[in-house]
Symmetry: C5
């Protein structure tokens, strides 16, 4: 699981039927200070996150399928929480 | 899942029989601005994408096998959508 | 499994119910000399580690689920030990 | 799956019995232009590839086990094809 | 699987019971020339490797569990061979 910031959403009309109606977000991984680190990727939303939010993202297929309660979903990354603060 | 651009296709005559007739694309991962990031890799096409298209690529074996409806396919990455736009 | 240093904890009120009551730590991977290497990520604690501790972190979903004795947990990384020393 | 060039073979006399008789190749990942990108790693050969060949390598455990028809093989990467050309 | 050099061993008194009695090595990945590449990580030994040895390391959970003959072991990387030479 990583910290990330939501940058935007992807609009795709030609895609597999299983993805219809799912919100695909572009997320930028963040370090412990909230600075960008590494490469952006795509994640499905489960917590009504918005653009600019700092979120928790899990990037593992089996975890993503458990969260979506669909053991067959072809999905790897999911937004699972919105971050309020970092304690040090 | 990531954003990527299709760069071309691989021609291979000596390969495992399971890959016969499948189109293998070279894809370049993109950031949220559409700029290249990270390393190119290979993905199988499922949406009739063409060279130059910005696409959605899922890079996880179990997801790839589900999409191809073949639980035994030795495949890891698949092109699953064509991107129209990014909303911010 | 990697060496890492605990940097802090994440506070998140909006998150999936499965994560309620679990302590989410930000960890910084370390090289063999104890210097930072690579990107920070998040891990769940199982050994009462504190901020500043050098720890062992396993980053693989099936391992994490075994350690938490929950084959369905949507979890990928877990802190599994506290490091006393490196022998060379 | 990625493009890679075969750099050489590893000679190892002390190794697990399961690896006896298998050819372990060092491969260098390549970008779409045939230039080196990223880190070298090791892969088992299934197509009689030789040093200098540009090959297709799949780097996922379940795929590797399917290709070798051994669901228990402790193997992650396999050379599965020899590349003739890249179409753009 | 990758080439790596053994840098040292980790001493940890506070750790999960499943890791008691197992030797945890710090390994540095190497390229085809024997030069360091990428980040160090931790691996369990199965071939009595020593500090300074060039070894074969497999970094995939299912492979590691097969090698240790323990389908439940929360383990991801294992040293599986000692390298004598590289043929080119």
């Amino acid at each position: 699981m990583i910290l990330a910031r939501v940058l935007g959403n992807v609009v795709s009309t030609v895609k597999l039927p299983v993805f219809q109606g799912m919100k695909i977000m572009i997320v930028q991984p963040l370090d412990g200070e909230g600075n960008p680190q590494g490469q952006t990727f795509l994640a499905f939303d489960t917590v009504q996150a918005g653009v600019g939010d700092v979120v928790l993202v899990i990037d593992e297929g089996n975890s993503a399928r458990t969260i979506l309660r669909n053991p067959q979903a072809p999905i790897r990354a999911v937004v699972v929480g919105i971050v309020d603060d970092i304690e040090r």
